[in-house]
């Protein structure tokens, strides 16, 4: 599904190399977790895959299925099935949450040559998905993420994911700022979307999210590279011993 080869990325604004040769392959139906210390390049990787400006790819490739992600506009990547749940979901005053979701869904469908979803069908769809995430009608009416609590913002990200039905989902520190109950709710939302045709890349600092979203593979990232990969046990090892040993081992 997602294939990243030898990806090197630096910042556009300053001469600073962030990613130094990331190799990663996520197959359909799989859940991969990326853990790593602050500044290891985890969020940069998610932004580069989603197409955010401000980064320059100096080497390597990233493909989604057969498509070269790195040459595509962000909206084209979304239409191709890539989704990034933001670490800090953006507040957009003046744009209603429903308008936003419907515009996004129909734009993606249009890009894929599919018919638009009618207002009635869309309402039904969103209400059903919102219910399972305990998102009430009031939240749907409000402007995008404006006045939402941390937990509400993250649930809203998962709602977007549920409505847009991407095949490759990247979750960038979705657990940050969440209490245990909120984290469970978000994890349940993610788990409900797990199926054979969909893959997840879960970026997190802590092992606890992975108690709720069980990964197939865990990668440790440090200094812009994946330094170690393994099963779910690797996450526990990090939880117990920290990153220091792994990082020095890799050096």
């Amino acid at each position: 599904m997602l294939t990243i080869k030898n990806l090197h990325v630096r910042l556009e604004a300053e001469d600073k190399q962030i990613l130094r040769g990331v190799d990663l392959t996520v197959g359909a139906g799989e859940v991969h977790a990326i853990m790593g210390p602050n500044g290891s390049g985890k969020s940069t990787l998610s932004y580069v895959l989603a197409g955010r400006e401000g980064y320059i790819v100096t080497e390597g490739s990233a493909t989604l299925g057969e498509q070269d992600l790195l040459v595509m506009e962000p909206e084209a990547r979304a239409a191709a099935g890539l989704f990034l749940a933001f670490q800090y979901p953006v507040e957009i005053p003046g744009v209603g949450n429903m308008t936003f979701l419907r515009t996004a869904l129909n734009a993606q469908r249009k890009a894929r040559g599919e018919p638009e979803v009618s207002a009635g069908d869309f309402l039904k769809l969103v209400r059903a998905k919102a219910k399972t995430l305990q998102i009430d009608a009031e939240m749907l009416k409000r402007p995008v993420n404006v006045g939402f609590s941390g937990g509400e913002k993250k649930r809203n990200e998962i709602l977007q994911m549920a409505v847009l039905e991407p095949r490759m989902c990247i979750l960038d520190e979705t657990d940050s700022g969440l209490d245990v109950d909120a984290m469970k709710l978000v994890a349940e939302g993610v788990n409900a979307l797990r199926d054979a045709g969909r893959a997840f890349l879960v970026i997190t600092h802590y092992q606890r999210l992975l108690d709720h979203i069980k990964p197939d593979v865990v990668h440790i990232m440090a200094a812009g590279r994946i330094i170690k990969s393994g099963g779910p046990d690797l996450a526990l090892e990090v939880e117990n011993n920290g990153y220091a040993d792994l990082v020095s081992e890799a050096q």
Binding site: G51, E73, P74, A78, A79, V90, I92, G94, Q108, L164
Partner: protein
Amino acid sequence: MGLVQVRQDQLAARLAGMTLPKGLEAARAQALARLHAMGLPGKRDEYWRYTDPASLNDNAATSAVAFDASDETPIFGAIDQLKLVFVDGEFDADASDDLKLAGVEISRLVETATPATWIAELFGTLEARGQKPVARPLAAMNTAFACDGVLIRVTGKATKPVSLIYVHKSENSDAMLHHCIKLETGTSLTVLESGPAAARLNKVMEVEVGVGARFHHIRAQGRDHGRRAVTHIFARLASKALFKSFTLTANGMLTRNEAVIELAGDDAVAHVAGAAMGDGAFHHDDTVFITHDALRCESRQVFKKVLKNAAVGVFQGKILVKPGAQKTDGYQISQALLLDGDSQFLAKPELEIYADDVKCSHGSTSGAIDDTALFYLRSRGVPKAAAQSLLVLAFLTQAIEEIDDEAIAEDIRSRLEGWLARHDR
């Protein structure tokens, strides 16, 4: 002495060949005297520092081609209305509905040989009051010389809006319109205005809102690129009166919209809002002066401008709270979204407060489209241009929300979308 003489000569040249129309002679003569005392506005005047009045002062209008806006349905066209059409500033009876509406008396300014008492009392009165402390000579000129316009007295709740449609045909038209509107106690009326009116327009609207009366005003100043306009709204509100005015301005070489509002009765509410969109040769100036002179009144000014390609936006907004106007609630926001580095927004918010128990706030910002929000939208699949237009509309939302009627607000929103689609970069 030299400057005064220059101004007097300039005014004499401007007025050469103009004669005071018949009817309301006393009010017109007084207005002319006010104009002579003030002279024409100049670049050095405090309230004309950001807007050059030269083309408004010129003896003749600079010619402007009438814009063919037939690619869109006429604005407000779907709204049930009493239609009054003016072509190049002259009433067109054939194109207009009969001047009949339940609860509303409508006549024309040209028919004032023996004006009704309310007309004699209102015509020129609010304009004259609005001359202090800031001179508005072009409004005095209008009171003196405007031939056409409507006089509306509201005696009940109007069942549909009165719609003033201003058609621009002649390239050299130089129109002056003066409307007077009086809402008696407990009445209500919505006035719609649309169209560019002329190559150059000088328009005054005096609105007296009676006790508990409700006045809504929504205008769209047409799509002509070359036209120039100076407009004044003078309003006075009695207790518990409501006044809400919204203006959409897209294109236009020069626009100066002044609103001078006096909250004279307790618990009155006045809101003035505007959305202006300019691309290229566009200079838009909102100058607002709100006087709180009674208890517990509320005023809101919400002005938003979207500017690109060296377009210029100006906002001069003042809240004056007079001694004794306790529990005043005044709010003012003026913001510009600059779509490129060439555009300019000049803002001068002013508060002058002589009461000690008041709440007044003001804010003014100018900035670019938020890149983070833009990326967020694109990452969800919304194409760049659509995402930008969504964000521009979001920026304007606070102003559009000042329109109470949802159908009218939706119409305005669709015009803005149309403009954005046509001016996509």
